[in-house]
């Protein structure tokens, strides 16, 4: 299967079996979909699933997870009850347009599977949009993230049948954020979903992408999101990840950005067995700007890997990355920040920073900046820190009467606040702040509630009211 003589894992065997059967059954049909599938199968046969022999996977070893033959095929559930009945996710005071994916399929009543609004905004199932709006697919689908980009995109192409499709027409500023809730309620599934988001010129949009678990069953999630930002378009993307310890989440997002477009990504990782976020940002037009930040709070034997690739393909673009994490117990984290500056991308500003706090001697971080610069008139910087909580600050707080645990909590929260303070939607920020506090206190669980639903904590949370806001 693989070019190098490697062990074929049970998961790879299962995936290969299903993929080959799928390709065979489609053989008589033709069309570009089939070609892409064929290409993906070829890649998969050559490369299999990524393992730690690959440079980019050196510190994230999923071998153990590959021992389970997760099934890449899931029945589409009939819409019998509202998502709220499966999973509560209505945030108090937070107004959003909620869409959901259940076991890899778009979950909604038939009539709202693909909605188009008066202003031209389209929100709905990717599977359905593919046939209804082929023009957008022809232009963007598998184009921002080509099938053979890597092992993960190939696997995704082989099995993804649905996802979310969003189209924001030129000049439309969508005020109401769209919130995607992705759920799994069956054990042993590998879920591949593919999302496509297209933003026209001068448009703006806010998207929340939530990955949650509703039970403790195992699963393997592989999500691919392609995003196109037209000239002067603006996207705020929040990723919230609160999945159980039995779940692997691979979350790859690819962005193509035209002139003067603006992207803001905030990845908030609260819980999960093993999570890998890949952000591939292509600054293709002059004056484009990407602001990428992330916060991860892991414990037990959890693993988080943030891979950020920023390609400055045009001059006068700015990119800024700040990723921060607190790791407790035996948790481990990886941060790889790649900045690539093309020969003609003069006047580039690219900054990158990764700060980590290790709470124990068994927690681990691998952080690696990687800068490849071919232009000569650029400003780039990178920095990484790994440390403990500041002892001086701890003593200062305790000298004022604040007990050890609270002082520790206050400092951890302050550390995280640099990222959460950046959340522009006030109600969302309040919710996230509460989640961070709960998480740091070890009180956050993947209870059968949406991560955004923690507005009424069971216990009063101290430092709750920031009086600076009064």
């Amino acid at each position: 299967m693989k070019s190098k003589n490697k062990i074929i894992t049970p998961l790879e065997k299962e995936l290969l079996k299903v993929a080959e059967a799928k390709v065979l059954s489609l053989e008589k049909k033709s069309g570009s979909d089939f070609e892409e599938l064929h290409k993906a199968l070829k890649v998969f046969k050559e490369k299999g699933l990524p393992d730690k022999n690959l440079e980019k996977w050196r510190n994230t070893d999923l071998f153990e997870w590959y021992q389970k033959p997760f099934s890449p095929v899931a029945e589409k559930e009939k819409f019998t009850k509202e998502v709220d009945d499966i999973f509560q996710c209505t945030v108090q005071g937070f107004d959003s347009n909620v869409v959901s994916i259940l076991n890899g399929h778009y979950y909604s009543p038939e009539r709202t599977t693909l909605q188009s609004f008066k202003n031209g905004l389209i929100i709905g199932s990717l599977a359905k949009a593919k046939t209804q709006y082929p023009q957008y697919f022809k232009k963007y689908y598998n184009k921002i993230a080509p099938v053979d980009t890597n092992e993960i995109t190939a696997v995704n192409t082989l099995f993804a049948e649905d996802g979310v499709f969003i189209y924001v027409p030129d000049g439309v500023e969508v005020e109401l954020p769209v919130q995607l809730i992705k759920l799994v309620n069956k054990r042993g599934l590998m879920l591949n979903t593919h999302n496509l988001i297209v933003l026209g010129k001068n448009s703006s949009f806010t998207f929340l992408h939530c990955d949650d678990s509703i039970n403790h069953d195992d699963s393997f999630i592989n999500t691919l999101t392609e995003v196109h930002l037209g000239e002067n378009a603006s996207l705020d993307l929040y990723k919230l990840q609160n999945i159980n310890d039995e779940t692997v989440l691979l979350n790859s997002s690819f962005f193509s950005m035209e002139r003067n477009s603006r992207l803001k990504v905030n990845v908030l990782t609260f819980n999960g067995g093993s999570i890998r976020n890949e952000l591939h940002v292509n600054l293709n037009g002059e004056g484009a700007e990407a602001d990428l930040s992330g916060l991860y709070l892991m414990d037990k034997k959890q693993h988080i890997d943030n891979q950020v690739y920023v390609n400055h393909n045009a001059p006068h673009c700015n990119s800024n990355e700040v990723f921060k994490g607190i790791l407790d117990e035996e948790a481990s984290a990886v941060f790889n920040g790649y900045i690539f500056v093309e020969r003609d991308a003069q006047k580039t500003n690219a900054f990158q920073r990764n700060n980590n706090i290790l709470m124990t001697s068994t927690a681990k971080v691998n952080t690696m900046p990687f800068l490849e610069i071919y232009a000569d008139d650029v400003q780039c910087s990178h920095g990484a820190t790994v440390g403990q909580l500041d002892n001086e600050a701890m003593f200062y707080l305790m000298q004022r009467g604040i007990p050890f645990e609270d002082a520790r909590m206050l400092l951890m929260f302050a550390f995280a606040a640099e990222i959460t303070d950046d959340i522009k939607i006030e109600t969302l920020k309040t919710n996230i702040d509460d989640m961070v506090k709960k998480r740091l206190r070890g009180e956050l669980s993947i209870c059968d509630r949406c991560v955004l639903h923690c507005t009424t904590p069971d216990k009063p949370i101290e430092f709750e009211i920031d009086l600076s806001k009064i």
């Binding site: 600050a393 009467g401 009086l467 009064i470």
Partner: protein, 252 residues
């Protein structure tokens, strides 16, 4: 007696810094501790407040009649021990308001009192800010972050005013202060002084003592007090310097 330090020996990383230190402080008194650099003045402050890494190898710190050698720093603080830091720590991300409110409520919880209401708290803050002439809005600022040297020291006295300690230790509060800031700090201290509390003022120079007038002056050298007297002793030291101390008590 509020504070009674008996034959205190303190070591850092096995190196003995305090070598049989004795001091008695009663309520209503101001004690000045003076001496050349490196004689253990700051170590004394750290030992009284319970800082980690300062090992008491011998002797006792008795506060309000109880031996507090093993008390945690927060317990000492909540029992009324306050340290004005020589180098106040910057804590990015923790706003002054959150910090003070947490500290104040920690003390109230320790005392079995209910949490202070937000409005009441804000009023108290405004009132105490005036005492040390802090005009800036502290609310949006992180603890000591971006504060000038003078602001940091004023901020220490402000916190002292908020927490109303019984025993306040001022560690080199005058260092880095211009004369105007020094007067403000001293005024704050004098207004907080009462028959129910006491101050231990650690200082290198006599200057501060023009404004905070001590009842007792102690000269510290080689990890212990070598001479005690009234406020006149400070003037004597100012005139003669510390050379005579070194001569009389030996070079360390």
């Amino acid at each position: 007696m509020l504070l009674n330090i008996k034959n205190l020996h303190v070591a850092i990383n096995g190196k003995e810094i305090l070598k049989g230190f004795n001091l008695q402080v009663n309520k209503g008194e101001i004690h000045a501790i003076m001496g050349p650099n490196g004689t253990g003045k700051s170590t004394l402050a750290a030992a009284i407040t319970g800082r980690e890494g300062y090992e008491i190898t011998e002797g006792e710190i008795i506060y309000k009649g109880q031996v507090i050698n093993d008390w945690t720093p927060d317990k000492r603080a909540n029992e009324g021990v306050f340290l004005s830091f020589q180098y106040p720590v910057e804590i990015p991300g923790v706003s002054m308001t959150n910090f003070m409110r947490t500290a104040l409520n920690a003390k109230r919880q320790y005392q079995g009192l209910p949490q202070m209401k937000a409005g009441e708290f804000l009023k108290l803050m405004e009132q105490k800010k005036k005492l040390v002439e802090i005009t800036a809005k502290l609310t949006n600022r992180s603890v000591n972050e971006g504060f000038s040297g003078g602001e940091k020291k004023k901020n220490e006295i402000f916190q002292m005013a908020m927490l109303e300690p019984t025993l306040a230790i001022l560690d080199e509060t005058d260092s880095g202060l211009d004369i105007d800031a020094l007067k403000v700090v001293a005024k704050g201290v004098n207004e907080l002084k009462s028959d129910e509390n006491a101050f231990v003022v650690i200082t290198h120079y006599q200057r501060l003592l023009d404004y905070i007038v001590p009842d007792f002056v102690h000269v510290m050298y080689g990890g212990r007090i070598v001479k005690s007297g009234g406020k006149g002793l400070a003037l004597e030291l100012e005139e003669q310097g510390y050379e005579w101390v070194k001569e009389q008590f030996g070079e360390e």
